[in-house]
Symmetry: C3
Subunit: 136 residues, 3 copies
């Protein structure tokens, strides 16, 4: 069986945000076994699974990925949407814009230290749409 | 229900190519709700979701990712298949070689600005095989 | 139909390890058509599809990704778990911690040169748990 819904995330500041419980609250009752797929419907944001405990990890993601994929690189020709735009597109493909998570015993089956990060790569990204698909 | 097919992409030049409509033309009628999974059956090519409008974004992907994962790095020992080979393997895992996309109302449910990029990381990659799996 | 199991990988040294046949041995008989999803339940390890023949490719992955995402970068503030910890979190999101692979004719449908890499990003990562989900 497939269940599907679209949700809107409120505007979040640039950076990495733990959204596991926000996602869980939007979901219908989960099946005994299955998978949850999440797509971010934008090309300057991302989604990934990472450490859910210490906020300093999310701070370091923002600092380091900004250094790995910097603004103002001289090779960029796609510059008319702002300095943060082209790096945001690159980050979206390096980090990814969709993720699949197993469902077991009616719950997301992540590791103890794993959570879902929503990654806002723009300075002012606005509201963001996600498609959630549950298959069981 | 699972439907599956393999398709061959014609040889594409090194770089990032928007293949959304090419993929859509190969697909059988899509279900009301479901997911499409695409695997690139190669280790020196990739697939990702990104900006479908301005070709300068794809140009910048090629320029910047070549800088982030350069040819001729002194750490490489896997060099006998050409300067473009080891960077192509690295890019394939950083960008990814498979992607899942929701299907809603018989269509791919991507954001307005999202398209599917096929990423050819070799100078002469030849034909490329993809496995498409639709589950509904 | 969904089948699901959890497996434990024995402790592996830091680096990239070809685990295709190890995974295949743990799986129940595979369906004629379907998909296999694998989640690594850890935030300092990863999983990806790449070249299954020459071990020098895995060596170069370790060397190059260590250079792209180095230890001891001055921007890191999450440092109390060791120099290898924050880079391991970053690598886990850049390489990815989950992958989906098509199943065709009761076998994993990978390309000739493709295998599954388990990526141990810590110096001493211990045993690692994976969730395998087969849908058909």
């Amino acid at each position: 069986m497939i269940q599907q819904l679209e949700i809107t995330l409120p505007q979040l500041r640039r950076g990495y945000h733990l959204i596991t419980s926000h996602i869980e609250k939007q979901l219908p009752p989960l099946p005994e076994k299955g998978l949850l797929h999440i797509l971010v419907k934008h090309t300057s944001a991302g989604i990934t699974i990472n450490e859910n405990a210490d906020p300093s990890v999310r701070t370091d993601f923002e600092s380091f990925i900004n250094k790995m994929i910097p603004e103002g690189d001289p090779v960029y020709i796609h510059t008319y949407e702002g300095d943060d735009d082209m790096p945001a597109h690159l980050k979206s493909s390096v980090i990814g814009a969709e993720v699949t998570i197993p469902v077991t015993n009616h719950r997301l089956n992540l590791g103890t230290w794993q959570g879902i990060y929503f990654c806002e790569f723009r300075n002012f990204g606005g509201n963001r749409r996600l498609v959630l698909t549950i298959y069981s």
